[in-house]
């Protein structure tokens, strides 16, 4: 008891809550994602947890319902190509300058996955409603688009504060089961440095659980200085962290490394046929040596 108190005292001298990070493995994290989960993934410019995505595919997860925040690229395409996905809610799936997302395109054209088309701010608004614990958020625009016409879960109401006719769409809260992303660093307390990629905070706060991969775990706390606190996300939103160096590869990460464009180009080529995709999966996902050159 005295010893226990002493431990607490030592921690308190540092002004820190108990250290909580246990560096989990990628497989630990992937194993926490139940088949059929509503899984939130960030856009390519965020922090795409590609190493974790490969672990998910290796575990042959099935029936995932993807929520792209608000778009996706290779991550969604690869998960779809590997057969892990039952449905996708997204504003777009694209390989950007490199071309169309072929696995996504094939799966939608053949009706192999359920597509819920949305528009970027509607994804944000739904997550913000969840983050705030409110049942819905209003959003301008949308009315008269086929995006809105096919979304039976959206509702058009009369703006209760308007005196004249003023229809407006209200969007239900979107509460993902799990959010996954990759970030430059965690600290020893489990806080994550996300910089200005605040949509990662939105994803974490709106979701029931959040699993994060990071390039490294650094000592101390981002909250020791205001300069680093500004780009941090508090550890109490995070359920598990794993270190994955180059964990966004072949995507880039912040100012740390650029995308591996030759590799992504080769992926686009491979994904043009189901057979090519299988070869890609064998080589870069199922074989252990799937690391950047």
């Amino acid at each position: 008891m005295a010893g226990q108190t002493l431990v607490a005292a030592v921690i308190l001298i540092e002004g820190e809550p108990p250290q909580v990070i246990e560096a989990a493995t990628l497989d630990d994290l992937a194993g926490r994602i139940a088949p059929g989960s509503l899984l939130a993934i960030p856009a390519d410019y965020g922090g795409v947890a590609m190493a974790l995505t490969r672990a998910i595919i290796r575990q042959r997860n099935r029936g995932l319902r993807l929520l792209c925040v608000p778009t996706s690229g290779m991550q969604a395409d690869l998960l779809i190509g590997a057969g892990c996905v039952a449905s996708i809610e997204t504003s777009a799936v694209t390989m950007g300058e490199l071309g169309r997302a072929r696995c996504f395109g094939r799966a939608v054209e053949r009706g192999e996955i359920v597509i819920r088309d949305t528009t970027c701010p509607a994804v944000h608004a739904g997550l913000e409603a969840a983050e705030k614990g409110i049942p819905f958020m209003p959003l301008r625009g949308l009315i008269g688009s086929d995006v809105q016409r096919y979304r039976y879960d959206w509702q058009i109401i009369q703006n209760p504060l308007a005196t004249g006719p003023d229809p407006i769409v209200i969007l239900p809260a979107i509460k993902p089961d799990i959010a996954i992303f990759h970030a430059p660093a965690a600290d020893e307390e489990g806080n994550i440095w996300i910089g200005r990629r605040r949509e990662l905070a939105l994803m974490a706060r709106a979701s029931k659980r959040t699993l994060v991969t990071v390039e490294r775990i650094r000592p101390g706390s981002f909250f020791e200085q205001e300069s680093t606190a500004a780009g941090a996300l508090a550890g109490f939103y995070i359920d598990a962290v794993a270190v994955a160096e180059h964990g966004a590869w072949p995507h880039g990460l912040s100012d740390l490394y650029p995308p591996d464009l030759p590799h992504m180009q080769s992926y686009v080529e491979a994904s043009k046929s189901p057979e090519g995709l299988l070869t890609y999966l064998d080589r870069f996902v199922f074989e252990a040596a799937a690391v950047p050159a």
């Binding site: 777009a92 799936v93 694209t94 701010p121 301008r140 096919y150 912040s254």
Partner: protein, 245 residues
């Protein structure tokens, strides 16, 4: 003076943007991005350019939602949208051709168009391929409608459609395009022949002006390099070699 088709379109779009407070450019839009940076470089007073998915040309710090919040508040003056299909009422389709949802050919998706088309006052439609497959009588899927009934809150909408052949202005009262100018080397007949929708033909159709050599130098020397971060492939092939001094 050698002039690539992309350079011509960049200068044409820069003229249309003009000097504004804030122009934003979305995903997969290298020509609008270059045009915005050019317009900024030529502006005499403060002009902000936001290129989404760029770190350098993006000063949002509240994540992906900030562009849409800004647009909702009227803080973005000009934006660009395209379309797999665009019809004569300026409806745009970014989703696919054929019957939804198992379309014949699936394209990326609507991105933010179903919102930004309503909220940003001046939306410039840009689509390099002027043909009857793209400019159709009626889009197969409305990612965002070109106009809305009066009871719909809609401060924004399409202003103009720019293609590799012509500039067509959208008439928000009549809900139709009007041919404004034809690019050098093309004719009114060619434009009409390659357009799948009806448009208004005024008595006078201008010829789109060519850029000055000094402007091309500015573009090649100062703008091209700044696109590499977001559009490396485009930055490599779009520009003619800068003239030697």
């Amino acid at each position: 003076m050698k002039l690539t088709p992309d350079e011509f379109l960049i200068c044409t779009l820069a003229d249309l943007i003009g000097p504004v407070r804030h122009v934003a450019v979305g995903a997969a839009s290298p020509i609008p991005a270059a045009a915005s940076l050019l317009a900024q470089a030529e502006a005499s007073s403060r002009m902000d350019v936001t290129i989404l998915h760029s770190r350098r040309h993006n000063r949002f710090t509240d994540g992906g939602v900030e562009l849409f919040d800004c647009a909702g508040e009227g803080r973005i003056d000009v934006f660009f949208l395209g379309g797999v299909q665009i019809d004569g009422e300026a409806n745009i389709n970014l989703v696919g051709t054929g019957d939804y949802p198992t379309v014949q050919r699936r394209f990326p998706g609507s991105f933010g168009s179903a919102y930004l088309y309503f909220t940003i006052p001046r939306v410039i439609l840009f689509r390099a391929d002027h043909d009857r497959r793209t400019l159709v009588p009626k889009v197969d899927f409305i990612s965002a409608p070109g106009w809305s009934p009066p009871e719909i809150h809609r401060p924004g909408g399409p202003e103009v459609l720019v293609t590799n052949l012509a500039i067509m202005r959208f008439d928000r009262i009549r809900h139709r395009f009007s041919l404004d100018s034809v690019h050098p080397g093309h004719s009114v007949e060619e434009v009409l022949d390659r357009t799948g929708f009806e448009m208004h033909l005024p008595p006078q159709v201008k010829i789109t002006s060519l850029p000055e050599p000094s402007r091309l130098s500015l573009l090649r020397d100062r703008i091209a390099g700044r696109l590499e971060e977001s559009y490396p492939a485009f930055a490599r092939h779009a520009f003619a070699q800068p003239e030697l001094a």
